[in-house]
Amino acid sequence: MTDLRKPVAGEPGWRRPDLGPPATDLLEIEHLRKCYGEQVILSDLSLTVPQHRCVVLIGASGSGKSTLLRCLNLLETVDDGVIRLDGVDITDPRVRADRIRTQVGIVFQSFNLFPHMNVLDNVTLASRVVHQIPRPQAEASAMEMLERVGLADKARARPDNLSGGQQQRAAIARALVNRPVLMLFDEVTSALDPELVGEVLGLLTELKAEGMTMLVATHEMGFARQVADQVVFLADGGVAEAGPPEQVLADPVDPRTQRFLRRIIDAGRL
């Protein structure tokens, strides 16, 4: 397993030039099961995400997209199955969860920025507190990241003085300073006004182009079609259909996928 990546000023840690043939699977999920009490959310889910690839999760509300992402970030304990990150079983209870979480970044639907800190402090918190990096260095690399997401001029602003799109880009910057090897995006544009969706999806597209490995839960079918290497349709607690976007979105095989996509087309969202 790669060492805890300490953010340092300079090259972004996830920028990798090799975008050649599919490398090893960075993330492997086997027979994952997750229940909340009696309610089974994920019954038997298997999925792999190759390195430097973008996998998009689609599915109806309540199909378990968010639950899956929370399991991958160890915010939930799984009820059965194995999750391997870079070959290491992270569902092993002996694993140090805080250490894994610094390698897997997650961005939430409702941003979850810390309202009592300005943007810069939000972004530097993990560097200062988890990695014990002195404030000046932490701020230098955080400013680079904010520059990267186009928010350098908002570094001293409080989250509630930002638009939804700016808040979400700040949240992405916050997740990126840990130099994660895998990024999880949980419906990151669902809470945004329509005219602000583009700036966030644009950022995701750039991250993909730079070689970040990403797992994206979204209702934005346009994004899925243009950016995804693979589209995965979740239904009934498992993977109903998976494949390249042009196949899953245009010519779905599974009847559940067909029904879901028809509803989306009827709503004018495809």
């Binding site: 939430f108 979850n112 920025l113 810390f114």
Partner: protein, 295 residues
Amino acid sequence: MNTPTSTTTASGDRWTPSEIQLQRLAYRRSRNRRSTLIAGSSTVVLVLVVGWAIVHTQGWPRFRASFLDVKYGREVFVGILKGLWLNVRLMVVCEVIILILAMLLALARSLRGPVFFPIRAAATIYTDVFRGLPLLLVLYLLGFGVPALRISWLPSNSLVWGAVGLILTYTAYNAEVMRAGIESVHPSQRAAARSLGLSHGKTMRHVVVPQAFRRVMPPLLNDLVSLQKDTALIAALGTPYYDAVLQAQIEAQTTYNYTPYVIAGLLFLALTIPMTRFTDWIARKQGWTTAGATV
């Protein structure tokens, strides 16, 4: 008052109020003048009627002599004010200790996992007991009971035990307030902090407690006002520590004139009313504390 015919806003937008807007403004102004006049005159009438009624009640001269004796009041004022200084010092020292202990207690009660069951249980029992006991009873038990044990290494000073009683009781109240504050921080804030790799302790310290503390500022100040006046209860422990109430009591006992109590009461009000207003002001300013709290 002359009506503006044409203004230019900061953004450079020229605006001339329309005829109908001018009429509306004139109407509102006349309504406001009328309301102010009515409120002012009715207040004056009420004060005059109540004042006349009080002064003409049977027994008013006796009341004034034993409660509002200005000359006697002036004599005892300085003594009582010195007593109040003890109350103020007691309040400050106690509040500092209370805030620290209450926070530790609240954090102990928010610990999760079976390992921490004894700590959680102890903290819960403590808050239940000391919120339920009358403060005066706690003061008697500690202030008279403990020194009577004559245990050599324990302080025999009743003032110290009075302070301990205040601290024990108010820590229980403030711990509950802080626990409520900690639990009011949305779980998504915890999730966001943990997802960045922060441990439970670091999440509490950097993310949850700072937000919780801001939110519970008004109720904590409320408890501080309460503590401020409850320091008067140490008068029950008697000499040789003369707080404002004990000082007033000694005066009143010798003369059977209750003016000293009135003076002590007014002095406490002079402290607590500004504090209460300050608390209200902080509560109104809540904008800066809860902003962005909607996950």
